[in-house]
Amino acid sequence: MDSLIYHSPALIVALPLVAAFAIPLISRAGYRVRSTFSLVILGLVTFLVAVLAVDVHTVGIRVYTFGATAAELALPGGYMVPVRIMFQVDGMSIFMGIIITTVTLAALIYSIHFMKAGDMFNLFVFLEIASIAGAGLAAYRTNMADALEGGFKYIVVSAISALMVLFAIGILYSQYNVLSIAALANYMQYTTLDMIALGLLGGAFVMKLAGVPLHMWAPDTYTVAPAGTTPMILAASYTSMYALYRITFTLYGAHIDSTAIGWIVIVVGVLSMFVGVMMAVHQTDIKRMMAYHAISQGGYMLLGVGVGLAVLANPVALASYGRDAINGGVFHIINHVFYKALLFMTAEAIFFRIGTRDTNKMGGLARNMKWTAVFYIIGALAISGIPPLNGFASKLLIYETVLQFNPVLAVIAMFVSLVTLASFAKVFYSAFTGPEMPAYREVREVPKSMIIGMAILAACVIFFGIFPGLIVDNLVAPATEALINQAPYINAVMGAVP
């Protein structure tokens, strides 16, 4: 068991990689064998993430260096800077790991029928892997022209963003000769070139997380991706948000004008919230509507963390509301992934049964698809911030803290929640209620595996809503602490500064 914990940072990456290459071979043994194998591997990875989370929570930051005599040995004898490939796991990175594995497990169960980088280059490589896999998943239905188009747009946007990330890494490497985030943060001089690198990294990550005005690809991609794969594309987007936070807080956070950066993040957040929700309420394609809501909800996460970033240099404001604002923004990531994955699954369930995403052609579906209707209601209430579901808890943290920072921003956030509720009420009314449509008289509920996948996510939405204190204290607060306090992250690699 100790060995398992010791090597878990490497196993969490290696197991899915090996399994991905093994699956085409295993598929030859039959559909059931393939599904069972995928489920076992993903279950094992989820278990390893949970074990690593407990370890990080009790022991502290974990450093795993490949090729070193001991994995925790970040600096080889006689070296001043880390030179090997290295994973660094702290509260924030394990938080993202929990989100991705949990939501992927639920998505895999739904589909049966139907990070943690420690240096800049690893960050780039894993983002690229996620992007390439995401494009393939979005274009899964190769018989549909719009699926290929959605996948193509995703890969173009991802490739150009990745190019900018690589360019920025080149700028930093040419100045400091290191790639480790901790070493870069330690040596950074905050030159004009560093600011250009920050702009390139920030723009690229905002593009990948679909922040307004760089969001246009998201509806085109999310709409066509099968719901079983959407949670993974969604998780890839929020990995970019993690990368953005890691860069702004850990790499640049100590010395730059965090107020200016914070306000840039806030402006992108508010624009994303407002434009996303106003576009969503206008849609008649159910998945396109949900894709615009994903953009809008991303705005809440940026708003919360942006407020924390803006007051990072002000200890009084940080203690008074800044830390809770970041808690709210980070908590909203995990809440959003759960309810948005659930909502995408309900939309896909409708498409699976009636063959259209057009809400103008729907009506009375709750009569025959009762479970789908119940899960839709849970997801819709959660995304609209209705108590006692999980969306309310994180939105409440954001409203209360943003109100102290700037009341106008809090009013916009509340308005966006109202329009979100109106938007989901519109779809609920047009798709699920009303008289039975003659064309859908024979429609049946979706298969059990799809119901189980949705039920797991609905259970998470309810559990996180009823026990927000448990989640914030044990998962979110350590992630926030890892963002705010850069010293332990740097010292874990570079050694304590005397």
Binding site: K153, V156, V157, I160, S161, M164, T192, M195, I196, G199, L200, G203, V206, M207, P213, L214, M216, W217, P219, D220, D257, A260, I261, I264, V275, M278, M279, V281, H282, T284, S320, Y321, D324, N327, T359, N360, M362, G363, P387, P388, A393, L396, L397, E400, T401, K426, Y429, S430, A431, G434, P435, E436, M437, P438, I466, F467, P468, G469, L470, V472
Partner: protein, 113 residues
């Protein structure tokens, strides 16, 4: 464990659920003391459209495109402006990306001087 404590306030979902259950029971009791002459399935519950002929059930369902019509009509200018950049052309998305990168870098460089 359940309650979320932040800054100067607290959110206790279990207390909220208990309060909602109590309010629900009170509303249920109050409702049961209401009008007794209501009878389901009689002419009392038929649809009345100012004396006009009532269309068949499936034609009475309001389509999604017609919901919030007034809201969209009053905000037509805003929607026209918001729809314009959503061309669906990936080249346009990249032009936006380049423009945003230029503005962001300019702000950051000026802020650092």
């Amino acid at each position: 464990m359940s309650a979320l404590t932040y800054g100067y306030a607290v959110w206790a979902p279990i207390v909220w659920i208990i309060a909602m259950v109590v309010i629900g029971i009170m509303v249920f009791i109050w409702r049961n003391r209401g009008q007794k002459s209501y009878k389901q399935g009689t002419a009392q519950t038929d649809v009345f459209l100012s004396g006009n002929k009532v269309p068949p059930e499936e034609q009475r369902h309001v389509k999604a495109a017609n919901i919030y019509w007034g809201f969209f009509e009053s905000l037509k200018g805003l929607y026209d402006a918001m729809m314009k950049p959503h061309t669906g052309i990936v080249n346009d998305y990249i032009i936006w990306f380049v423009a945003v990168l230029a503005v962001t870098i300019l702000i950051l460089v000026l802020a650092s001087l």
